[in-house]
């Protein structure tokens, strides 16, 4: 018997013969908690990974969602971000789990994402990329004790480059779209690097403004190709 990382109930992990043969590790969650996560599935926006099943047809423009269309129509943002890929749908369940993890500070919950995050990442990206976690401001990092984006990056066991620094500490969620677009959020804290391909890592993709800003900086710094990968797509 083991304890479920999320609901703390005891459960019997299900192990079949194939699990013994492949030395697969038992899930850290009970079946019921595991079932509550919704992976992003079906048809989705080619650019940002938003599932079309969750938005009305009027927000769809061919292969794109209208949000991504807006990014592509603006000269300064076109081709800044190659693509975004996300693991889970940001539903009520995911909201609760992320709150416990990030705001209540239960760091260990990152283990609940490990298998899905690794599988989905390597489905869309190759192993010769460099990961750039979206940073927190100094104050927020102290308050939380850890950076959730860095914690996600660490489970991918790829090189991590902490090259971004936050200049704006205001919460993104408190701003309008226009305000988000205008504010300078980051700066590069080093020029001593050359990467061909970077993948930005964050917990959430909401409007995309965070990753677009970070991607533009990296591009200006000389990175050829920048994509992003987030735990959930709101």
């Amino acid at each position: 018997m083991v304890m479920c990382l999320l609901c703390h109930q005891r459960y019997e992990p299900r192990l079949g013969w194939s699990d013994f043969l492949t030395v697969k590790e038992a899930d850290v969650l009970c079946e019921q908690c595991r079932r509550s996560f919704s992976l992003i599935e079906g048809e989705r926006c080619h650019q940002c990974d938003r599932p079309f099943s969750l938005i009305s047809d009027s927000y769809r423009y061919g292969e794109l969602c209208t949000d991504c269309l807006r990014w592509q129509q603006a000269d300064e943002w076109r081709d800044v971000l190659t693509k975004n890929r996300s693991v889970y749908v940001y539903d009520e369940w995911m909201k609760d789990v992320v709150t416990r993890w990030k705001f209540r500070g239960d760091y260990a919950l990152v283990e609940a994402f490990r298998v899905d995050v690794r599988r989905e990442f390597f489905r869309h990206f190759s192993a010769d990329v460099v990961l750039v976690p979206i940073p927190l401001s100094k104050k927020r990092l102290y308050d939380r004790g850890f950076n959730q984006a860095k914690a996600l990056a660490e489970i991918l066991s790829l090189p991590i480059a902490d090259v971004l620094e936050r200049v704006d500490s205001e919460k993104q969620s408190k701003k309008t779209r226009m305000e988000r677009l205008r504010t300078v959020q980051f700066r590069l804290c080093t020029r001593e690097w050359r990467y061909d391909q970077c993948v930005l890592i964050d917990d959430l993709y909401t409007t995309g403004s965070t990753v677009y800003h970070a991607a533009r900086l990296l591009k200006q710094g000389g990175v050829r190709d920048v994509s992003s990968f987030t735990l959930a797509r709101a």
Partner: protein, 496 residues
């Protein structure tokens, strides 16, 4: 937070000049304690905020400079949040020492690998670099002459129990009050809380569930209108106030330290098994020494029942309901392999007959099932008889609305798991359990379920039916428990 410690002085990192060696508080061998400096003038705001509490730095709104000055002058102490033990760690806020309830991470606060407690993390993380702040000044004692405004009268059995509780409070003793479901135990507390407040004691009433805090707080405020009273639960507005009478969930109790002269723990048996050690720790930590400890329950566990019989545990029983009618006694009905039937989309004939009779007679009912997975299936089957039938479980987002709708009479039958076994009181209902042989239906749970029936004086009777696929010890014990209580009540002349 990290501290500089040179063998004599302890200084928080932000107040150091910089360049000194700093370590997480758990690595400081012995935290210095200073004597109270009579020449220092402390902030009364700070002292009243911290009075009887044990808080994190994040929970304080005072500057570190100010707080540390109070420390150096003996008014507050720092304590380690997590300490090492033989098998791992112990959280000093919640008492957890189970290795599987700890985790480590690279902490940005102390810039090293830091272990934290996962058990109480929802109340703000306590880790190896977390200091707990307590006040060295005991909370103020306020004497209230005759604070009780309630003018009702107690039944004979209630009065006897109330007298015993008053005595326990005066003697700073421990007492168990075993009161049947519907005995009117809140009223029993009135004379004893009055006595405590007359003595200038600080009183705490702790209970596992927020619902109960919300129900009890207004009743107590009404009974003691002149007394400062606060209700604490997740998200409560009263968090920062000081009061003589505190009604709190067990979780919020974790934030108290040597605060209460009288500790009353309601529904002590209702705590999930895993929470029990935390409750004991929190209650112990929040009490002054010496203090009175009163437990209230309708269903004491076997251990306690045995200790009572052997005379090792002082206890008083209220075997009758306030209205003087006996407790409805459950009847057992064998219903065969009901799980198989549920999987085929139907229910055993006698269960269906029981439900149909309630629907015909328009008598509301609860149907208890052992697990959430069964809930929807059983509800769906019964909706064929009446579309208004619904299921409700602990995590149900619409739980409050559904229970209210049942109270309003819009739902004829509610299919539920054991969450509704307590607290929810609706007059004139019947109750059935499907699969009473399941492990979740302990003696205590079954007694509580039976206790839902016949609560009001207008409708003191009702049907309690345990449908089962093999009688269990728990079922037999629950029935005997109820019969014993009725016998004792009859013997003591407490029934009509």
């Amino acid at each position: 937070m990290r501290f500089m410690y040179d063998g004599t002085n302890l200084v928080p990192e932000p107040l150091t000049a910089g360049g000194e060696k700093v370590v997480p508080i758990s690595r400081v061998a012995t935290i210095p304690i200073y004597e109270l400096n009579p020449h220092f003038s402390p902030s009364s705001e700070l002292l009243s905020f911290l009075a009887g509490r044990q808080l994190l730095l994040d929970e304080l709104s005072f500057s570190l400079d100010q707080l540390h000055a109070h420390y150096e002058n003996g008014y507050v102490s720092y304590q380690k949040g997590v300490v090492p033990t033989e098998q791992g760690h112990r959280c000093m806020r919640c008492g957890n020492d189970a290795p599987h309830f700890f985790a480590s991470f690279f902490c940005a606060r102390c810039e090293t690998v830091c272990t934290y407690c996962r058990k109480c993390v929802t109340m703000g993380r306590v880790s190896e670099c977390t200091p707990l702040v307590v006040s060295n000044v005991p909370p103020e004692r306020v004497v209230y002459p005759h604070p009780l405004a309630w003018t009702g009268t107690l039944s004979k059995a209630q009065q006897r129990a109330a007298d015993a509780v008053v005595q326990a409070i005066e003697r700073r003793a421990e007492l168990l009050v075993w009161a049947v479901c519907g005995a009117g135990k809140t009223e029993v507390l009135f004379p004893s809380i009055q006595r405590a407040l007359e003595l200038g004691d600080r009183v705490c009433l702790a209970t596992p569930r927020t619902d109960v805090v919300l129900e009890l707080a207004p009743r107590l405020k009404q009974a003691f209108p002149s007394v400062s009273t606060i209700a604490l639960y997740g998200g409560s507005e009263d968090r920062k106030k000081e009061a003589s009478l505190v009604i709190t969930t067990t979780h919020q109790l974790l934030r108290f330290y040597r605060a209460f002269d009288v500790m009353i723990i309601d529904e002590v048996d209702a705590f999930p098994y895993s929470v029990e050690p935390m409750l004991a720790y929190a209650a112990e930590k929040a009490r002054t020494k010496p203090s009175a400890l009163i437990y209230l329950t309708a269903t004491p566990n076997e251990n306690w029942q045995r200790e009572m019989k052997q005379g090792k545990r002082s206890a008083v029983t209220i075997p009758a309901r306030y209205h003087g009618y006996p407790l409805p006694v459950p009847t057992f009905a064998w219903c065969g392999n009901w799980r198989k039937k549920v999987n085929r989309g139907t229910l055993p004939t006698n269960v269906l007959a029981w439900v149909e009779k309630r629907l015909q007679e328009k008598k509301q009912a609860f149907l208890f099932v052992p697990h959430v997975e069964l809930l929807e299936k059983v509800a769906a089957i019964l909706q064929r008889f009446d579309r208004r039938i619904v299921g409700v479980h602990a995590e149900d987002k619409a739980r409050k609305e559904k229970v209210q709708s049942f109270r309003d009479g819009n739902i004829p039958l509610l299919v539920t798991t054991t969450i509704l076994e307590r607290g929810v009181t609706v007059p004139n209902i019947d109750v059935a359990v499907l699969g009473a042989e399941d492990d979740v239906f302990t003696e205590g749970a079954l007694v509580q379920i039976a206790g839902r029936v016949g609560r009001s004086a207008q409708y003191p009777g009702g049907d309690v039916r345990f449908f089962h696929f093999g009688k269990t010890k728990a079922m037999v014990k629950a029935k005997r428990h109820i019969c014993d209580m009725n016998d004792e009540a009859r013997k003591r002349g407490l029934l009509w």
